[in-house]
């Protein structure tokens, strides 16, 4: 390595002004990312000069790819546009599909700018829906007052003829507009997105962006601690609240710099004698918390990056990952009671809420296994319970896109399906295993459901 440098913050892609000691790294130059929050090592290869850069936090801030929707039109974002003396100006958004909210802002600003500079110019504003962020409301009011002509179109009411003429056709209005068009470009993820996803071990996100469709990752979290997503790396709506999101992100960075603590109190040790470097844990970890330990020639769990879901140890093919906590312990007084495997981020919260509403714990008189995530449910574990206990098992997981560990519900569902398949093939009763999904909000639901289930079991 040519050198080592240390920064508080790395910007992959575009850089924003901050007070942090930061470095900007172009996505093309980045080769690998090791380490964890507070101490990432970014391996760069700029003009074949390898360099290792130490950073505490990373913001991936790739620009959008702007794809023009009309060949001859100018972009709404461009300051360099034609004004033809004879022709009106046409601002076009939401074509062919609804534009992001930020486009309404850019469009209104542009319309007002033109109207201010050329008061006599006819300015048409074609749109499907005006989007409101920041002070768009005011801009919109001002634009209406300054006699900008707003034409709202519906699907199919607009045709582009010869790239310069727009045919606006409603039952009562039939307009052919020939003018200088300023059109909102379509926003697409940056070209480097896929490579960056691989480098940071991030899963495929929403619409080929990096941000996963998961409510816990709001607004700019990536699933990996200390790595944040902005703009074109995040998603189609990322520009809407860009300022707020930047603000949030920088405040997160500040907090991280003030000191990072472990989220989960348990340590997960990888037995280097058993680890076969199959990378299964690395691939399944939703939080990018697993890395290879070159010295030991085994994988290792990064304690600060780990968010405690235990998916790695439940999927390790050689049982090489160990945790001191006996997290699969069954708690309960009566061995005859039905067994609940509950997700601590959904059912357990709902139960607590139910308790605070009704004054009764809906989980009492069950045997319980509390799990950080139902994705840790394993076939072997369920078979073992089935053979040791005579009671039914109910697994209560979370709903899609609302899993704190990103894919727990789906993984668990697959495991349960396979369990049932296996039991069916061996002609063993499969009705003893149940799986339901709920959100932490379904407190009333959970209470009613468990009461009914228990009733059904009695019969």
């Amino acid at each position: 390595m040519a050198g080592k440098r240390k920064f508080e913050l790395a910007w992959i892609g575009d850089k924003e002004e901050t007070d942090f000691e930061s470095i900007q790294i172009s996505a093309e130059d980045l080769v690998a990312c090791q380490g964890e929050i507070g101490d990432f090592k970014l391996i760069c290869n700029k003009e074949n000069q390898p360099e290792e850069i130490n950073v505490a936090n990373i913001i991936i801030n790739l620009p959008y790819q702007e794809e023009p929707v009309l060949e001859k039109a100018d972009s709404l974002f461009s300051d360099d546009y034609d004004i033809n003396e004879d022709k009106p100006v046409i601002i076009l958004q939401d074509y062919p599909e609804l534009s992001a909210a930020v486009i309404s802002q850019a469009g209104l600003e542009k319309a007002l700018e033109i109207k201010d500079n050329y008061p006599d110019k006819e300015v048409y504003y074609l749109y499907q829906a005006m989007r409101f962020i920041e002070d768009n409301d005011r801009l919109y009011e001002r634009a209406r007052e300054s006699e900008i002509i707003f034409l709202k179109f519906d699907l199919g009411q607009l045709k582009i003829i010869e790239e310069e003429i727009i045919h606006y056709n409603r039952e009562d209005i039939d307009l052919k507009l020939n003018g200088n068009i300023l059109a909102a470009p379509e926003l697409k993820p940056a070209k480097e997105t896929e490579r960056i996803a691989r480098i940071f071990n991030l899963a495929d996100g929403y619409k080929e962006y990096l941000q996963l469709d998961n409510i816990y990752l709001q607004p700019t979290l990536s699933g990996k601690r200390g790595v944040y997503l902005l703009k074109g790396s995040r998603g189609p709506t990322a520009l809407t609240y860009f300022e707020e999101e930047l603000d949030f992100t920088l405040n997160e960075v500040s907090k991280n710099l003030a000191g990072v603590t472990e989220i989960d109190k348990y340590d997960r040790e990888v037995d280097d004698q058993k680890c076969i470097l199959c990378y299964t844990c690395y691939r399944v970890c939703p939080h990018g918390a697993i890395q290879r330990d070159d010295e030991l020639n085994s994988m290792k769990v990064m304690d600060l990056a780990c968010q405690g879901c235990n998916l790695c140890l439940s999927r390790c093919p050689t049982n090489a990952i160990q945790i001191e906590d006996d997290y699969l312990k069954i708690e309960g007084e009566n061995e005859q009671d039905p067994i609940l495997i509950i997700c601590e981020n959904s059912a357990e919260i709902a139960a607590e809420k139910y308790n605070s509403m009704v004054g009764k714990d809906p989980l009492e008189s069950y045997q319980k296994i509390e799990v950080p995530c139902v994705s840790t449910v394993e076939r072997g574990q369920i078979f073992e319970i089935l053979s040791k206990y005579s009671s039914d098992i109910m697994i209560l997981g979370c709903v899609s896109e609302a899993c704190k560990h990103l894919t727990g519900h789906d993984r668990c569902q697959q495991v349960v399906e396979r369990i049932k398949e296996d039991l069916e093939k061996l002609e063993i009763e499969q009705d003893r295993v149940h799986y339901e999904r709920l959100s932490p909000r379904m407190a009333a639901d959970l209470g009613a459901f468990l009461a009914d289930w228990k009733e059904a079991l009695k019969q």
């Binding site: 058993k274 076969i276 199959c278 990378y279 299964t280 691939r283 399944v284 999927r315 390790c316 093919p317 050689t318 049982n319 394993e378 076939r379 072997g380 574990q381 078979f383 073992e384 089935l386 053979s387 296996d422 039991l423 093939k425 061996l426 002609e427 063993i428 009763e429």
Partner: protein, 224 residues
Amino acid sequence: MIVGKLKDIKEIKDSLPDDIDSLLIAGCGSCVSVSLAGGEREADSLKELLNLYYQSKGKSVSIETETIKRQCDDEFLDELELPVARNQVVLSIACGVGVQHLAINNPGKIILPGLDTTFYGRTSDIGKWEEMCHGCGKCILDQFAGVCPVARCSKSLLNGPCGGSQDGICEVDDSIDCGWQTIYDRAEELGQLENLLDFESPKDWSTYKDGGVRSHKNPEFFQE
């Protein structure tokens, strides 16, 4: 690496003798562990499932598991010696090589296969593997931009794609990429499209299974 897939549980159950009283499930810690089919974790799950099965049938069968580093080398088998001896039947969830090597070393013992050895492949995604090589005994990757037409074309065509490939997808199944499209794409990137115009003579398959059971020696190590 060698990719394997755990056998259907019904098939495993049916293969076990009716009068079984003790079973050893022998896992293998190399290739098939990486392909998530034959490692310690799978051995344990299988044990629990078979336990449950025999319990439901009211039978008492003792089942134990033991996973060693590799079942295809003598030296590792030592760890299996006692467990094999004390169990009536052994179910090996190694690849076909491991199962047979275990059998060679344990004459008189019933050694049953617990998984299907599928192919030589790579991990292409979490829990997904793709065939890359047929082990034909004569590598020709240099002529095809590094993409094997033998393994990755469903017809193993050497002189170009068949007419059934569409949008880069093989006619046999939507989930298969056309090997020749891949060859073409890479060759174009490498500026080697010209090479694809070369006539490929019918391949000499004598180095493949067609040449009889294969073995080879490295004279540096092997002495007659």
